[in-house]
């Protein structure tokens, strides 16, 4: 049975590989995003030494690694699920002998593997050539970051799957998906590190799952969080991973009972 799921990873990876040309433009555009953010922050820092606990050098590294982490964890599982629902093909997939949600997760991971090897790594190399990115020397920072990056993927995919499954209840969830994308980019700390938000807002954001996607791994990589602290922030990720399983399975069950096919 597990072999079948492994095939989902492999097939998606190969499909992505067939379209790899698209991702070379992606690397350039992500680098441009990093560049623009880098210059904006540079203008903000001016002569200042530190903002929200970030030195200017840490901010550069944070911006670069956050965008490149996004290159890895980003996927369109929400849109895929919504499309399956709209064209009715989900009915067929529900009666097949595998768990639909788990299969989607595996496909997402296949895509993630592709994005990691052919998008994130070369992208990071290019970003390091262009901007003064400082890689951490501490092996614990590397190990912590890589493990946390995997959980970023899991949590982001969980949120995507939940958004996608909501299409069962609102029929056309285009707006919802767009809203999710915006919320994730802003509240995960990709655009602004969470510690720079005003106090009341950052304390709210610390109670939400989004910080686990970008801000926490980024903090480990830039060395803002070290030693035992790495275990603490990793703990936050695990807790969110566990909590998000609840709405995920509840929605999946409710969805199976609610299924009505609009077309196809």
């Amino acid at each position: 049975m597990l072999e079948a799921y492994f095939d989902f990873i492999r097939i998606r990876f190969l499909t992505m590989l067939a379209y790899r040309l698209n991702y070379y433009t992606g690397i350039l555009i992500y680098s441009l995003n990093i560049g623009v953010n880098y210059f904006t922050w540079k203008a903000i820092y001016g002569q200042g030494e530190s903002l929200g606990g970030f030195t200017a050098a840490q901010m550069t590294t944070y911006v670069a690694v956050s965008w490149m982490a996004r290159a890895f964890y980003f996927n369109n599982l929400d849109r895929e699920i919504a499309t399956d629902i709209r064209d009715g093909s989900i009915a067929i997939q529900f009666i097949r002998p595998y768990n639909y949600v788990f299969a989607k997760m595996m496909q997402g991971f296949g895509e993630g593997m592709f994005r990691f090897l052919l998008f994130m790594i070369p992208g990071m190399a290019l970003a390091m050539l262009l901007f003064p990115v400082q890689l951490p020397h501490d092996p614990a920072a590397w190990a912590g970051f890589l493990v946390m990056l995997f959980f970023s993927f899991l949590i982001n995919s969980q949120i995507n799957i939940i958004t996608g499954l909501l299409a069962f209840f609102v029929e056309n969830n285009e707006g919802l998906m767009r809203m999710k994308r915006v919320v994730v980019d802003l509240f995960s700390g990709l655009i602004i590190p969470i510690s720079l938000f005003p106090g009341w807002l950052s304390s709210i954001l610390k109670l939400l799952p989004f910080q686990a996607i970008t801000y926490l791994p980024g903090s480990v990589f830039t060395g803002r969080v070290q030693g035992v602290g790495i275990w603490n922030v990793f703990g936050i990720q695990i807790i969110w991973f566990a909590i998000l399983l609840i709405p995920l399975f509840w929605l999946y069950r409710a969805a199976r009972q609610r299924l009505f096919v609009q077309g196809g």
């Binding site: 555009i29 441009l32 623009v36 540079k42 903000i44 029929e171 809203m179 720079l196 938000f197």
Partner: protein, 262 residues
């Protein structure tokens, strides 16, 4: 012209009918658009919590530029929406249907994807300009409104040109290109004072992907930034150039279309 306006009104009626079927989603979509704009404003406000000026621009000025940026963007998103072009028209082969009809194919595609709620963003942009303009004590001249209209049309033409060009690339490549979603990230940088970027990015945002012309340059005219007046007046020219490029590439691309769907 009359024929095309007639088509537009028919499509808008049709749009209303489909929208009434998915009523709950309509408001979510309006809200998500606004939320996206709020995100960018939040970014500006957070920046100015940590600094007083951004390369010599005050908070009100940056917010004003953002307000202007929202106006043409809303118009563009309403009338020129090609987000899903490749999946819908090429992969599924709907382009065949378009090509058998009398009106120009690009015009039909624009019509089929009209999105009037986007205009709400333009209204909010005007409101933001009014508020921050008032805070800055900007004078209201006789040319303010005509210039606003002209610059909005020009900026919309720039967007249309760029996105039409990029969309037309999908006639040449079999796979959906991932460029357009990524471009949505870049375009927003034209709204910051371009002077903070290094030379390469400034050149890119001015001459290659001229997103500076849909935000900071035209807004500079109203903000009475001497150094940007010349660029602001160049906006209509850039609009004409990029729109022509877009139409040219599109028309060449359509000839390449072979019909992939069933």
């Amino acid at each position: 012209m009359l024929y095309h306006l007639g088509l537009l009104s028919e499509y808008l009626k049709n749009y209303m009918k489909t929208r009434l079927t998915y009523r709950a989603d309509f408001w979510v979509e309006v809200l998500s658009d606004l939320l996206f704009q709020v995100t960018n404003l939040v970014f500006i406000f957070v920046i100015f919590m940590h600094t007083n000026t951004l390369a010599g621009w005050s908070q009100n000025e940056v917010v004003f530029v953002y307000g202007f940026f929202m106006v043409p963007w809303g118009v563009f998103a309403c009338f020129v929406n090609m987000w899903n072009f490749s999946e819908r028209y090429i992969v599924k082969g709907e382009m065949d249907r378009i090509l058998t009809r009398p009106a120009h194919n690009l015009f039909q595609i624009f019509l089929e994807n009209v999105d009037p709620p986007s205009l709400i963003g333009s209204l909010i942009g005007l409101l933001i300009m009014a508020v921050s303009g008032f805070n800055l004590g900007l004078p209201f001249e006789w040319w303010t409104v005509p210039a606003l209209i002209l610059l909005t049309i020009s900026a919309t033409a720039i967007y249309t040109g760029i996105y039409t060009t990029l969309t037309a690339l999908s006639f040449y490549s079999d796979a959906p290109t991932g460029i357009i979603p990524l471009m949505y990230n870049i375009q927003s940088y034209g709204r910051y004072p371009v002077t903070i970027y290094n030379r390469a990015i400034q050149v890119l945002l001015t001459w290659i992907l001229p997103f500076a012309f849909v935000g900071v340059y035209p807004a500079g005219l109203f903000l009475q930034r001497e150094e940007m007046t010349r660029m602001a007046l160049l906006t209509p020219v850039m609009g004409a150039i990029f729109l022509s490029i877009g139409l040219f590439v599109w028309n060449r691309g359509v000839r390449k279309y072979k019909g992939a769907g069933s």
